[in-house]
């Protein structure tokens, strides 16, 4: 899991946390999560220095997060900045809005990308109303 982190990418920490969450699921929960999402996200994140990092969230077969391009064909590839990813993860930016304003670009199934919001939310344990 620690190999997910990449210096200079804040988003890599969120992804590492997400990976930890996935690893923490028991089989049943993992299945539920996979059913709910059922797809593969490939993330191409550009940081402030212009470097690009690639991660994959697989919620189709394995239910895991790993660094590098998707091993099987992703449902959607999301291209965005490190900052945009952080905002998405924190819920400060809505995925659709980010897309409309050009902060987020997609390849593949565009509307599947909207599911990323829900997936990222799992990364942080939130208090409830």
């Amino acid at each position: 899991m620690s190999d997910i982190k990449e210096p200079g990418f804040k988003s890599s920490e969120t992804l590492a946390a997400l990976a930890a969450v996935f690893a923490g699921y028991n089989d049943e929960e993992k299945k539920a999560q996979i059913k709910k999402t059922n797809g593969i996200f490939e993330l191409r994140v550009k940081n402030a220095e212009g470097k690009e990092g690639v991660w994959t969230i697989d919620l189709k077969s394995t239910g895991s997060v790993y660094k590098g391009a998707a091993k099987s064909k992703p449902n959607v590839t999301l291209i965005m900045s490190d900052e945009t990813f952080q905002q998405l993860a924190e819920g400060k930016l809505d995925g659709q809005k980010a897309f409309m304003t050009g902060k987020l670009k997609t390849k593949g199934n565009m509307m599947f990308a909207t599911k990323l919001d829900g997936v990222l939310k799992a990364a942080k344990t939130k208090a409830k109303l």
């Binding site: 930890a20 969450v21 690893a23 923490g24 028991n26 929960e29 539920a32 059913k35 709910k36 059922n38 797809g39 449902n75 924190e90 819920g91 400060k92 809505d94 659709q96 809005k97 409309m100 199934n109 565009m110 509307m111 599947f112 919001d117 829900g118 939310k121 344990t125 939130k126 208090a127 409830k128 109303l129």
Partner: protein, 649 residues
């Protein structure tokens, strides 16, 4: 010499301060427009210092001051600033200047040299003008009392129009400024020769006072006929003065700069309310602008809808999902959940206990701070026996709310969906909707939450008009409906506020909306406002805590949770939230103990244990690096087993 200055003059102020440019522009537009719209004679008086009402709008002054400050270090800037400012205060003078025929010429001269205007040596122009005014004034007021103002109005508006059309950023505002400069520079206007001689400084002041006095004495009636004559006269006078003066202006300039500084200070210090008309017009324009922007946004959301439509079509023939258990949604984003599943082996269903009303028992138990799991079992029994309470929905809604408090969100949503549906049938629409909206928010069903809140708003405040757009937005993108629904609630909150009342429920709804968009500071404010009215509402304390916790203030959140738990020690959700706050602070052991405590409480009452609690407990153990404990943490494990691991709960 002055032409020389015009061409190679120092690059002062204006073009190098784009921001002040913009401000100036706006401000300039206003006053100019007003002149045109309001007509020459009536509004004119407002701008004169001596007339009681409103000489020189305060806003004008503020803007000018800003401009002024920004350029202070540059030589001559002050003089220029005054030159632009003065027209408001002392229009008769500038009017007199403008009416001269050489002005027109100067103007076209300037026009012919783009870019030069801004470099007009203002340090000279301004002061020069002052002397101009002085002379002009004495002669003008001698000639005719009313003349200048009237001709001014006419001339001025004409001039405005032309400069307006140039549509250059600073022209409308600086126009008057460099006009002086130009008239001066093209003809050359040293003032020494004029009849007033050396005492210009005093003269100017005196002339100014004289002029303003003459203005205040003016009646409103039009004197168009006179105007023509005046213009001719003025032109002549101008010509005279212009011809008379030649050199020496330059040296005088410095001297006058200080006079202007003085005048300027006076102007600045005068307390003048901004003309009401200006304000309203500005506001109207602003609103217009905002609305046009909003329209754009609408187009955006339409695009979103379109994308959604395309997607839906796409989805039907591209089956990337194989699951049947995927949650389906209605058009308004409401999740379609199955019916409520009752607990098996509910001991309250035992016929031997049927002597008593289960609903009443549940209410009593809730009142006495009893176990929430126990309460929900009683309620289930009541429902299964057909004891539905008031309107046939009371038991359902109560069950939903208790389930939510007991950290069973899914069950809560199902019960509340049933309850709100029954309430609507019974003509009590709105009951339970707020609770359901909150459950939706917790489960990240944003659009469902918006829909429910808006429906609640309609049911609760039938007289409050909800815009068509808000309803339409519900079938659009989540962020769009969020904006619309928030707008609707804010509108109501404002109406209530202006009526001197504050509805805690409306504040709660607003709090939920802000919470959903991660605007935790504002959510906190809303819940605090509601708490001011209902200080004993433990649900509200928990909501406040949760807003603080998710807003990255877990330490502060603990205080709010403590309040909630003091009022209701068995409040499972608050305990869970305390655990989450501990986890986020890094106090893992405490976090685990809180989770275990909540689980133990549920176990004692024999109800179902919350999956959410187990799941979070597992995360805590993982954060501690205790995978062995994480593996243990599942619904089949006895909570007591963890006591042996050293957890005290």
């Amino acid at each position: 010499m002055s032409l020389q200055g015009l061409i190679s003059g120092s690059e002062c102020a204006v073009p190098f301060n784009p921001l002040s440019q913009v401000l100036k522009h706006t401000e300039g537009d206003r006053s100019l427009q007003q002149d045109r719209v309001a007509g020459p004679s009536s509004s004119r008086l407002q701008h004169l210092p001596s007339t009681a009402s409103a000489p020189g709008a305060e806003r004008d002054l503020a803007l000018a001051r800003q401009f002024f400050d920004g350029n202070a270090p540059q030589a001559g800037a002050s003089a220029f600033a005054l030159a632009t400012q003065l027209p408001h205060a002392a229009r008769p003078m500038d009017v007199a200047m403008r009416s001269g025929p050489d002005l027109g010429k100067a103007w076209s001269d300037i026009q012919g040299r783009p870019g030069l205007q801004s470099q007009t040596p203002r340090s000279q122009a301004g002061p020069q003008m002052s002397s101009h005014w002085a002379t002009e004034f004495s002669s003008n007021s001698a000639m005719s009392l009313h003349g200048p103002a009237q001709s001014g109005s006419v001339q001025h508006s004409e001039y405005n129009q032309s400069s307006y059309m140039q549509s250059s950023m600073y022209r409308p505002m600086t126009g008057s400024g460099y006009m002086y400069g130009s008239s001066f520079s093209s003809v050359g206007t040293p003032l020494q020769m004029s009849d007033k001689g050396k005492g210009k400084e005093i003269d100017f002041e005196a002339a100014f006072a004289e002029a303003t006095a003459s203005f205040s004495s003016q009646a409103d009636s039009g004197r168009i006929v006179e105007v023509e004559d005046d213009v001719g006269d003025l032109a002549d006078t101008l010509q005279d003065t212009n011809l008379a003066e030649q050199d020496g202006a330059q040296s005088e300039a410095e001297q006058y700069a200080t006079d202007f500084q003085h005048m300027w200070d006076q102007l600045q210090n005068s307390e003048v309310p901004p003309p009401q008309e200006d304000m309203t017009k500005w506001e109207a324009q602003f609103n217009q602008l905002m609305n046009s922007q909003r329209d754009n946004e609408e187009n955006f959301s339409e695009y979103g809808d379109f994308a959604r439509q395309v997607w839906n079509e796409d989805q039907s023939n591209y089956d990337f999902t194989t699951s049947e258990s995927r949650v389906e949604f209605t058009n308004e984003g409401l999740p379609i959940l199955g019916p409520y599943t009752f607990e098996k082996d509910n001991r309250h269903l035992d016929p031997s206990t049927s002597g008593r009303s289960h609903l009443q028992a549940a209410k009593d138990l809730l009142e006495q701070n009893g176990s929430l799991s126990e309460v929900s079992l009683l309620l289930e029994a009541a429902i299964q026996k057909g004891e539905l309470g008031e309107g046939g929905y009371e038991s359902w809604i109560m069950l939903g709310e208790v389930k939510s408090m007991d950290e069973h969100e899914d069950a809560a949503m199902r019960a509340l969906t049933e309850g709100t549906r029954r309430a609507e049938e019974a003509g009590a629409a709105g009951q339970g909707m707020l609770s359901l909206a909150i459950s939706y928010t917790n489960e990240s069903f944003e659009r469902a939450s918006h829909t429910m809140l808006l429906q609640w708003l309609k049911a609760r405040f039938p007289d409050y008009h909800i815009s068509e757009e808000a309803w339409k937005s519900l079938s659009g993108a989540g962020w769009h409906s969020h904006e619309r629904v928030t707008e609707a609630f804010l509108g109501l909150a404002r109406v209530q506020y202006s009526g001197g009342e504050m509805d805690p429920d409306v504040q709660i709804a607003l709090g939920v909306l802000f919470y959903a968009s991660s605007d935790f500071d504002r959510a906190k404010d809303c819940f605090e406002a509601a708490l001011a009215v209902r200080p004993k509402d433990y649900l509200l304390w928990n909501r406040l805590g949760s807003s603080l916790s998710n807003g990255s203030k877990p330490e502060e959140a603990l205080g709010a949770y403590r309040e909630a738990l003091q009022l209701r020690p068995t409040y499972t959700r608050a305990i869970y939230n305390v655990g989450v706050a501990c986890l986020n602070i890094g106090a893992h052991k405490e976090a685990a103990e809180h989770m275990l405590g909540a689980l133990a409480m549920q176990e004692v009452s024999g109800g179902a244990k919350s999956d959410q609690l187990w799941y979070t407990l597992r995360r805590v153990f993982q954060s501690m690096g205790r995978q062995d404990l994480a593996d243990m943490a599942k619904a089949t494990t006895d909570v007591e087993a963890f006591r042996r691991e050293g957890f005290d709960f």
